[in-house]
Amino acid sequence: MENEVLRIEHLHKEFEGNVILKDISLTVHRGEVIVVIGPSGCGKSTLLRCVNALEDIQGGQILLDGVPVDRSSKEISRMRQRIGMVFQSYDLFPHKTILQNVTLAPEKVQKRRKEEVSQEAMELLERVGLADRSGDYPRQLSGGQKQRVAIVRALCMHPDILLLDEITAALDPEMVHEVLEVVVSLARTGSTMLIVTHEMAFARAVADRVLFLDEGGIVEESTNPGAFFTKPQTERAQAFLKTFDYE
């Protein structure tokens, strides 16, 4: 298809003899938001890390814009510029100010002009309500604020796709909302995203497509999140969703 951004073909991942991911195939189109859910240890975070080559893979391939990504170091760095990633633990650079956190990679990796990058970074920080904190250091911010900065840091590279790896899992409950709101607004403005999350209400609101992963494989895939979350087809997905309900 023409507007395909990312394609994963028969991805197979093993670690020390254990199969982590088996035969995962997935195509992400421009502007599409795909949410991956599943029990802990099902391999969903590993899936994102494999896409970004933070983990090596034992089989299958990953294509960006229809072109297979050669896993040589030079190609990998180029590929990663086009894939933004946000981690569970924010992982801002503690020795840099908020603004420097955002501008570092565009300046050093993309060699863009300092003024232009700073201006864009400030606009993006403004969008997530943190422009007034641009001179602060990460340790002065709350978890939710840090995570919003981490999203901005990824966005400033103009990635074709964003990978969000349980970005609210380390946050206090009252901060989850402020972060997910940013993601929802990104989804509305057409960002392409592959999201791993445990926030089911959020998943339902934001997803164009839901993948349910269990034991390293795709168990259920649905292009109708409303229907999936109300009544999943497979027993395993039903059992999983039930764990979020209380009598």
């Binding site: 510029q81 981690f87 992982d91 993309q110 250091y137």
Partner: protein, 219 residues
């Protein structure tokens, strides 16, 4: 103590201090470079070179500077490598210091969480860029105390330079005592001049440590 004697000796000590400082700081500079290169090799896990680095570190950490200087100054000429005393001093100090700095940098590098590197890589940085812009500054902050201790240690080690006929502070003091036997004056001056050389480094070190701490914790 005779005041006139002290005043009379002062210029010689000042001369010796300048020489000690010059060679000492050249050595410290070299130690930084060697230490950094070794840390980089170990961090990037470059095969073969890694083994060389380990060998170098163990060799220089486990032999006295005195022996290293003897080797550079007296043994190398036998195979046709003739180095000036000054160069021997800086190089010897640099090689010894490099081994210590490498270990200090290593513990600093190990204190940086691996996900910091992943975070940098995921932004498209090459491993070298991630090292330069993300890992090294944090490792440096974590190792400032160790680095300062190494610098002081190295500057003190200059006191063995006299064996390769460098007219450093120690040499000057011994020389004057040998000639005029003003032991008390000579040794007092020696202590004072070492303090003049090293106290500023200690103070600067603690200031640096405080200044850098702002960024130490919390990502």
């Amino acid at each position: 103590m005779e005041k006139e004697v002290i005043l009379q000796y002062l210029p010689m000590y000042r001369e010796a201090l300048l020489l000690t400082l010059k060679i000492g700081w050249q050595g410290v500079f070299l130690a930084f470079i060697f230490g950094l290169l070794c840390a980089l090799v170990r961090h990037m896990k470059i095969p073969v070179l890694r083994g060389v680095v380990t060998g170098y570190i163990e060799l220089f950490r486990n032999t006295p500077l005195l022996v290293q200087l003897f080797f550079l100054y007296f043994a190398l000429p036998k195979i046709g490598i003739r180095l000036s005393p000054e160069f021997c001093g800086s190089l010897g100090l640099g090689l010894l210091g490099g081994a210590y700095m490498a270990e200090t940098f290593r513990s600093g590098l190990e204190s940086v969480a691996p996900i910091q590197e992943e975070s940098a890589l995921s932004l498209g940085m090459t491993p070298l860029q991630a090292f330069r812009h993300v890992i090294l500054p944090q490792a440096f902050t974590a190792s400032v105390a160790g680095i300062v201790a190494n610098v002081i240690f190295l500057l003190k080690e200059t006191s063995v330079f006299s064996v390769i006929s460098l007219m450093d502070l120690m040499f000057t003091a011994k020389d004057l005592i040998g000639m005029y036997a003003k032991t008390m004056e000579c040794l007092t001056l020696l202590v004072v001049f070492y303090l003049i050389m090293l106290l500023p480094v200690s103070l600067l070190g603690s200031v640096l440590e405080r200044r850098l701490r702002h960024a130490e914790f919390g990502t």
